[in-house]
C-alpha cells in the first residue's frame, strides 16, 4: 500500500517518523536496539547479512542497512535515535552521520553548524510554502512592557556576547 500523504511530507529533506513508519520500520529499529549489547555488535560485525535475518527486514531495508544508506533507512521506517546506534557500532559520531545524511563532509558540516546552522529560509517547503509560520512572523505580544524590561535587555546582551 502506498504511503498516505501527510502535510509534513511537504517539508524538504525530512522523513518524519510517524506511526506508519514506526510500524514499517519495527525490524530496522529493533535491530538497531540490539546493537546496545556488545555481543550483538560483534555478531553483527562478523556476518552482517546473516545477523540481519533475525529481524525480518524487507529486502529494501536490508540493502539500506548493509549499504549504510541512512536516508533510505529513515524513509523505510528507521528512526534516527535508533539508526545512530548503528553509526556508533561503526565508530561514527553523531555529527558524522549528520554530515553523511546531508551529503556533506564532517568538517564542512561542523563549520556550517558553527556559523549558525542551516537556515530555514528556502528550506521550509517542497511546494513553495516559504512564508514563515504565523507564530514567528506575528512577533511577540507586548504585554506590560514596564514589568521588567531591564532584566530582558541584560539577558539578551549577555547571551549575544557569548555567541
Amino acid at each position: 500500500m502506498a504511503r498516505e500523504q501527510q502535510d509534513y511530507d511537504d517539508i524538504p529533506g525530512t522523513f518524519v517518523f510517524d506511526a506508519e513508519r514506526s510500524r514499517q520500520g519495527y525490524g530496522i529499529n529493533m535491530f538497531c536496539m540490539s546493537l546496545m549489547k556488545d555481543e550483538n555488535r560483534k555478531a553483527f560485525k562478523a556476518n552482517e547479512a546473516e545477523y540481519l535475518k533475525k529481524f525480518k527486514l524487507t529486502p529494501g531495508q536490508t540493502e539500506a542497512v548493509l549499504k549504510r544508506d541512512y536516508n533510505r533507512m529513515l524513509e523505510l521506517g528507521g528512526n534516527i535515535y535508533f539508526t545512530a546506534k548503528l553509526g556508533a557500532t561503526d565508530g561514527h559520531s553523531f555529527q558524522h552521520l549528520a554530515a553523511v545524511m546531508t551529503g556533506s563532509t564532517q568538517p564542512d558540516y561542523a563549520d556550517m553548524m558553527l556559523k549558525g546552522g542551516r537556515s530555514v529560509e528556502g528550506n521550509r517547503s517542497r511546494s513553495g510554502k516559504n512564508a514563515p509560520a504565523k507564530f514567528v512572523s506575528g512577533g511577540v505580544a507586548k504585554k506590560r512592557p514596564a514589568a521588567k524590561p531591564q532584566a530582558k535587555t541584560k539577558a539578551k546582551s549577555k547571551s549575544a556576547k557569548r555567541k
Binding site: 506511526a19 529493533m30 536496539m33 549528520a98 521588567k148 539577558a155
Partner: protein
C-alpha cells in the same frame, strides 16, 4: 502544602554530557555552552528545591519501539542511568520520590490525563544532561542534590502530544502538587530543543528567530505557544525541534504570571541550538510561598528585578 516555585527550561544535547564526562568543559567550544549555566547552578544552590519534576524524552534507551507511551511518570524509588551503547553515563543513580509521584499520578489520571506508570525505568541523557547543567557535575558515587520525578514524553514518534495537551497536563500537575499535604518546594524542568534537526538531508537546521520568539512568549504569553500546530514546529524548528512541546508542560505547571530570572541561548552544541530559561512563580501569601515576602504591584516587580540582579551579579 507542596508548591511549584519555579520552572527551568534546558536543552539536553547528548554531546554536552559527553563533553562533561570526558573532561572537555574547558575547551572553548564547550566553555561557551557551559558558561551559560554557571549562574543557573548558583540559582539552583540557592533555591534548594525539595523535589524536581523533570519532563524529558527517552531516546531509544528505556523505551524501544515495543512500547511508546505518550506520557510516562516515574514512580520508582530510583532510576539508574541507562546504557546508551557506550556504557551508562558516570552519574549517580537518580533517587525518586514515590510518594509524591504516585500522588501526582492519581490526581492527573482523575483529571483525565491517562498516564503510564513506570515503577521501573532507566533514564538517559535526556534527563541526566539537564540535571548536570543545573546541578553541576556530580561524581558517580555522590548524590544528586534532590529527589527527581521523571516524566517521559513521547516526542520521538509522530505525533507527540499537542502543545495544548502538554500545557494542560502542566496545569493538572500543578493542581496535583498543590494538593499534596507536605510542605515541599518543587522545581519543574522542561527539557529538549530548541531548534534542531538531526535526521535526513535537512539536518543542521537552526532557526534562532523562532527560538527567540518561543522563549519570549514562554515568559509572557504562553497561550500563544499552545496554539502552534506540529507542522509549524517541524517546518520551522526542525523535525526534532518538536521536542519543545515538553517546555509547555513546565510552563503549564507555573502560575500565569512569572518572572523570567535568567535566559541563555547559544548556537550550536553539536547539531542543536541550546536554550535555557529560569522562570519563577511570584510569591504568594502563606508559608509555602518561598523566601520572598508577599509584595504587591510595583513592590513585587521591584523584588523581582532585585532578584534578577542578585542572580546575575554574583
Amino acid at each position: 502544602m507542596a508548591r511549584i516555585i519555579a520552572g527551568v527550561g534546558s536543552s539536553h544535547v547528548p554531546a554536552i554530557g559527553a563533553a562533561l564526562d570526558n573532561g572537555k568543559t574547558e575547551e572553548p567550544y564547550w566553555k561557551r555552552v557551559f558558561s551559560g549555566f554557571v549562574k543557573s547552578q548558583e540559582w539552583m544552590r540557592e533555591t534548594k528545591p525539595d523535589v524536581a519534576i523533570i519532563v524529558y524524552n527517552d531516546h531509544a534507551s528505556a523505551f524501544s519501539v515495543d512500547l511508546i507511551p505518550t506520557f510516562a511518570l516515574g514512580c520508582a524509588a530510583e532510576f539508574p542511568p541507562a546504557d546508551e551503547g557506550w556504557g551508562p553515563r558516570p552519574v549517580p543513580v537518580v533517587k525518586g520520590n514515590p510518594a509524591l509521584a504516585s500522588h501526582i499520578a492519581q490526581s492527573v489520571i482523575l483529571d483525565e490525563f491517562d498516564l503510564t506508570i513506570c515503577n521501573k525505568m532507566e533514564v538517559d541523557h535526556g534527563m541526566t544532561v539537564p540535571m548536570n547543567l543545573l546541578f553541576g557535575k556530580v561524581d558517580k558515587n555522590g548524590h544528586w542534590p534532590c529527589p527527581v520525578i521523571p516524566l517521559a514524553v513521547n516526542v520521538v514518534m509522530y505525533p507527540p502530544p499537542t502543545g495544548h495537551r502538554c500545557y494542560m497536563l502542566g496545569r493538572a500537575i500543578k493542581k496535583a502538587v498543590e494538593s499534596y499535604p507536605d510542605d515541599l518546594r518543587v522545581v519543574i524542568f522542561g527539557t529538549g530543543g530548541l531548534s534542531h534537526q538531526i535526521s535526513g538531508p535537512r539536518a543542521g537546521l537552526i532557526n534562532s528567530k523562532w527560538d527567540k520568539n518561543f522563549l519570549d512568549n514562554l515568559s509572557k504569553d504562553p497561550q500563544k505557544l499552545v496554539k502552534i500546530p506540529h507542522i509549524d514546529y517541524m517546518r520551522e524548528a526542525g523535525a526534532e525541534g518538536i521536542e519543545m512541546v515538553m517546555w509547555l508542560i513546565m510552563r503549564g505547571a507555573l502560575d500565569d504570571k512569572v518572572d523570567e530570572v535568567y535566559r541563555f541561548y547559544t548556537v550550536p552544541a553539536s547539531n542543536t541550538a541550546v536554550g535555557h530559561i529560569i522562570l519563577e512563580n511570584r510569591a504568594r501569601g502563606g508559608k509555602a510561598a518561598g523566601k520572598r515576602k508577599p509584595a504587591a504591584g510595583k513592590l513585587k516587580r521591584a523584588a523581582a528585578s532585585a532578584k534578577v540582579h542578585r542572580v546575575r551579579s554574583r
